[in-house]
Subunit: 523 residues, 2 copies
C-alpha cells in the first residue's frame, strides 16, 4: 500500500453508528509532533473532566461551564416540556396574539450567540425559502425573521413585510441588558403602540432570572419567560433554551439535535487522544498554527445548506480563543482566524489563492454524502457526482501543492448531524484553549469597545446641550471642538456631526478643499 | 491640535460631490513609508493608463482588460437599450413564458463572478425580503433566486417554491462551458420537460459570442441572448451585462450604478497618489502587509444591507491577488485574505479577537450615515445613534490597542454608492497587483482542481464498468482498488464508494473497527 493511502487509513476517525467521519490525512503533521503533545492531551483530559464535573472553568467571571453536560438532562426537564408545549400551542393557534389571529411568523431578536446558532439551524433544517412557503407547507409552523443588529435599515426592512397581529416576538438576551437587543425591543414596542396593539401580548423572553429583561417581561405580563442558566455562555448556547425556542416554533426537531450533540460528546470523551476527534482536531490546529494560530482556518462545506457554518464557527472559535492574556496573566495575543463560505462555489472565488497563493491556512471540507435529489446530467453522471468530483479534485490539487486540509463526511445533514458538528467544534475549542492555557469562556475585549461607545454617546449628549446654548455656529470639527470645550475630541465630534448632517435638518456640511475638512453649520 | 487629529485631517480623502470619504488615519504607516512607494505609484499610474488605453494586461490569456473603460460607454450602446427594453417587457408582461402568464420571478444561474455581484446588488438595493413582497410592492419587477453551485439540495430547495410557468431563467457563463452552470441548466431543462413545458421559452443567456451556451441558446431559440465581451473578467463583470440583466429585471437602477462606478473611476485617476483613494488603499494594503499580504483584510460594514460585501471582495481580492508566480515567472505565493460580515453584530462575535488577540489584520469599516428610519430609543438617542456610537467605540478601542483600521463613509447606500465602492476596490486591486508585479486578471490555480476533478469523474466511469464486469464484490477501498487495477487510487475510490453508498441501493458499507476501514459490498 502506498504511504498516502496508509496515512488516510491511519488518520481517519469514523463513528460507525452515525457514519460521521473525520480525516486528518491531508494535514502535514508527523507522529512525533503528535506524541510531543502528550502532556497537553493529559491536561485537556483532566480539565475537561473537571469542567464536566462542575469546576469553575471561567475564573474571570467565577463561572461553571455547563453546556457539555446540561444537554444530556435538558430533554427531561420541565423547561424543555414547556417549550415544546408553547411551540405546539403557537402552531395550532391555541396561543395567539392580541387579536386572536393565529401566529404565522416569529421574530428572533438577539445578537451574537443569541442569533448565529438559530440562524444556522434555520438555514440547515428549513432551507433558504422557508418564509416563502405556505402555512400548509410549513405544517402551521412559523416563518422566521431575525433582528441581530442595531441598524434601522434591518428594522425598516422587517417592518415592511411583518404583520404585527400574527407575529410572535422572541427577545433573547442572557444578561437581559444587551443594548442592540434592547433597542430593537423598544422600537418594536413603539411600532405596536403606534398601531394600538400590545407588544406584550405577542412577546416571549429568554433570559437569566432577575435580569432587567426578565423583570420587564414579567411586569408587562408577556406570553412567556424562559429562563437561561448563568453557566451557559452566549456562543455555546445553541443546545440550550436559546436554540430550543426558535427551533421549536419553526418545526425543528430539537430533541434529535441534542441527541446528535450528546452522541458527539460521548465520542469526544474517548481517552485515547488519537481516537478522539475533538482532541485530534485541536491537535491539528495546534501543530498547523504552531500553537499561535499562524494559519487561518478556512471552512468549506460542500453543501448549500451549511453556508452559515463558517460564520457560526467564526464566533465560536475567534471569540473563545482570541485572547490577550493567558491564565497566568502573561500577554499572549492568541487567536485563530476563521472564514469560508461553501464549496464548490468558492472554487470560483477565493480558492485560487488557496491553490496558488499564500500558504497560510488549512482548509476544512465538510461533505454531505446524500444527494437531496437525483438530477441526471449525462448518462453516467448526476449533479451530486460533480459536487463530489469537485471536492475530491480540489483536495488532490491542494495535496499536490503541499497545502493542508481536513475532511469531515456526514451521510446527510439533519438535526442530528448538525448537533454532532456543533458539539465537535465546541469541544475542540475547549481543548485547544487548554493546550494554549487560556480562558475560552470569557470575552474581556468586548468591554473596551462598549465603554468607548458609551463615551461617544455621552459626548453626543454634551454636544447637543452645548450647541443648544451656543445657537448658530459654523466651523470645522476641530474648531467646534474648541468651542464646546472638548479640543481633544475633534475626531469623535466630526464623526457625530457627519452622522447628524444626513439625519438632522439643523446641521449641514460643505467640504472645504483647501483645508481638506468639512465645515459644519448648526442652526 | 493634537497629532491624532492632524493625522485624521491629513489622511482623509473626501469627494465633496458624492460625500464619499475614506480615512486612513487609523493605519500605522509613516510619511517616509508612503514616499518610499513613489516608484510603485509611478508604475501603477503608467500601467493603469496603458490598461485603459487598451494594452494587453492579462498576458497569460493575451487579453485586454476593459471593465474600467467599457462602463463609460455602455449606457449609450444598443446592448444596454435592449436589456432595458427586455426588462420592461418582462415587467409589464409583454414578454411571457410559454403559457402566456406574466413572469413573476427570475432564476439567475451562474457561479463565482456571475453570481456574487448580482447577489450583492440584490441585497443592497432590494433588501432581504424582496421575494416576500407582493407583485404590486415590487412594481411588477421579478422576485429573484440564485443557482450558484452544483448542489442538488440548492436545486431541490428552489424547485419547491418555483412556479415554472411564471419563471424567467438567466443562464450566465462567459465561457459558456462552466460545468456547474451547465448542470443547473440541464437539470432545469429536465424539470421543464417533465412538466411538458419548454425551458427555451423561459430562458435568456449571457455569454460570449459563439460559445457553447451561445450556440445552444440560439439553436433552441431562447427568448434572448446577451453578448458578453471577452475582455471582461468574471470577477469584474458586475458593471457589465452580467450585472445589468439581473438588475434590470428586478427594478435596480443600473444606469445610476454605472454613474457611481464612473464617478469613482474619475476620482481614482487622480495623478497625485496621496489624493487618489485607490492608490492610497493599495498603499495601505502594501505597507500593512509588507507587500506579502501578512495581514488579513477584515471588512466590517456597519450596514445590514452590505453584509455580502465581504464575500464579494473576498473573490475580487483573493482570486486576483492570490498567485504563485509574478510577471517575471518567479515563485512569490502572493495573496491577501479577506473576511468579515457586518458591524455592530460582529462585535458580539469575532471582534473579541481583533481587540485582544492576534495582531494580524487591518479592519475596514464602512459607515452608512443615513438612517433608514428614525427609531427613538431614549429621549436623546435613536437606533442610528447607537450604531454610530458602537462604530466609533470600536475604532477608539482598536486605536487604543494599536490595531489598524480604515474607515469609509457614505451618506447612504444606493446604486450610486455601491458603484463607487466596487469601482474603488477594483482599481485598488489592479494597482496593488502592479505594486507586487503580478497578473491580477487570470486564475491559473482554478485549472489544477478542474483537471483533478475530471480525473475523479473518469475514475468513476472506469469503476462503474469494472464493478459491472466483476459482479458481486466485497472489500475495503484498498482491496477493491487492487481488484479494479487502480491500486494507487484507493483514496479516491474510497471517496466515490462513500458517496455511492448513501445514494445508490447497489452499494452498502459497514465499518470495521479492527482495520479502521469501511468494508464495501457491491451487488
Amino acid at each position: 500500500m502506498n504511504s498516502w493511502i496508509e496515512r488516510n487509513i491511519g488518520y481517519t476517525l469514523v463513528d460507525g453508528e452515525s457514519q460521521f467521519s473525520i480525516d486528518f490525512a491531508g494535514m502535514k503533521f508527523t507522529e512525533q509532533e503528535l506524541d510531543a503533545l502528550q502532556p497537553k492531551f493529559e491536561r485537556a483530559v483532566r480539565e475537561m473532566a473537571r469542567l464536566e464535573a462542575g469546576a469553575i472553568k471561567n475564573p474571570d467571571e467565577n463561572r461553571k461551564v455547563t453546556h457539555f453536560t446540561d444537554r444530556v438532562d435538558y430533554p427531561k426537564t420541565k423547561l424543555f416540556t414547556s417549550v415544546e408545549k408553547f411551540a405546539e400551542q403557537a402552531r395550532t393557534g391555541k396561543i395567539t396574539g392580541e387579536t386572536g389571529r393565529k401566529f404565522t411568523a416569529v421574530v428572533v431578536n438577539g445578537i451574537g450567540g443569541s442569533a448565529l446558532g438559530p440562524e444556522l439551524m434555520q438555514f440547515v433544517i428549513n432551507g433558504p425559502y422557508w418564509n416563502e412557503k405556505t402555512d400548509t407547507a410549513r405544517n402551521g409552523y412559523l416563518k422566521v425573521y431575525f433582528l441581530d443588529n442595531t441598524d434601522s435599515a434591518e428594522f425598516a426592512d422587517l417592518s415592511e413585510v411583518m404583520d404585527p397581529e400574527t407575529t410572535l416576538h422572541l427577545v433573547i438576551s442572557k444578561s437581559g441588558g444587551t443594548q442592540e437587543t434592547c433597542n430593537n425591543m423598544i422600537a418594536m414596542e413603539e411600532l405596536y403602540a403606534a398601531r394600538k396593539l400590545s407588544f406584550a401580548k405577542h412577546a416571549a423572553a429568554i433570559t437569566m432570572k432577575d435580569s432587567k429583561l426578565d423583570k420587564h417581561a414579567r411586569e408587562d405580563n408577556w406570553l412567556a419567560v424562559f429562563e437561561m442558566a448563568e453557566s451557559i455562555g452566549g456562543r455555546t448556547s445553541e443546545t440550550s433554551i436559546v436554540g430550543h425556542v426558535p427551533a421549536a416554533v419553526t418545526g425543528v426537531n430539537f430533541r434529535r439535535f441534542l441527541e446528535g450533540a450528546c452522541h458527539m460528546d460521548e465520542w469526544t470523551r474517548t481517552a485515547d487522544p488519537k481516537k478522539n476527534p475533538a482532541m485530534m482536531l485541536a491537535a491539528m490546529w495546534y501543530i498547523a498554527g504552531e500553537g499561535k494560530g499562524n494559519r487561518n482556518m478556512v471552512i468549506v462545506p460542500y453543501s448549500d445548506r451549511l453556508i452559515l457554518l463558517s460564520r457560526y464557527l467564526q464566533q465560536l472559535v475567534m471569540e473563545s480563543l482570541g485572547k490577550e492574556l493567558d491564565l497566568d496573566g502573561h500577554v499572549v495575543h492568541q487567536g485563530l482566524n476563521v472564514f469560508g463560505n461553501k464549496g464548490g462555489t468558492d472554487a470560483h472565488a477565493f480558492i485560487q489563492q488557496l491553490n496558488d497563493g499564500r500558504d497560510d491556512f488549512f482548509a476544512t471540507f465538510i461533505e454531505v454524502l446524500k444527494d437531496a435529489e437525483k438530477l441526471p446530467i449525462t448518462d453516467a453522471t448526476d449533479m451530486g457526482t460533480y459536487l463530489h468530483g469537485f471536492l475530491e479534485g480540489l483536495s488532490a490539487a491542494l495535496r499536490g501543492k503541499g497545502r493542508q486540509y481536513i475532511t469531515i463526511r456526514v451521510p446527510q445533514i439533519t438535526e442530528f448531524e448538525l448537533g454532532m458538528l456543533i458539539a465537535l467544534y465546541e469541544r475542540a475549542v475547549a481543548i485547544y484553549a487548554e493546550f494554549i492555557n487560556i480562558n475560552a469562556f470569557h470575552q474581556p475585549g468586548v468591554q473596551s469597545y462598549k465603554l468607548a461607545a458609551k463615551g461617544v454617546l455621552a459626548l453626543r449628549e454634551k454636544l447637543i446641550k452645548k450647541f443648544y446654548e451656543l445657537g448658530k455656529v459654523t466651523g470645522t470639527a476641530a474648531e467646534l471642538a474648541v468651542k464646546v470645550g472638548c479640543p481633544d475630541d475633534a475626531v469623535e465630534i466630526g464623526g457625530l456631526l457627519d452622522k447628524s448632517c444626513v439625519n438632522c435638518p439643523h446641521i449641514t456640511r460643505t467640504f472645504c478643499e483647501k483645508s481638506n475638512q468639512w465645515v459644519y453649520s448648526i442652526k
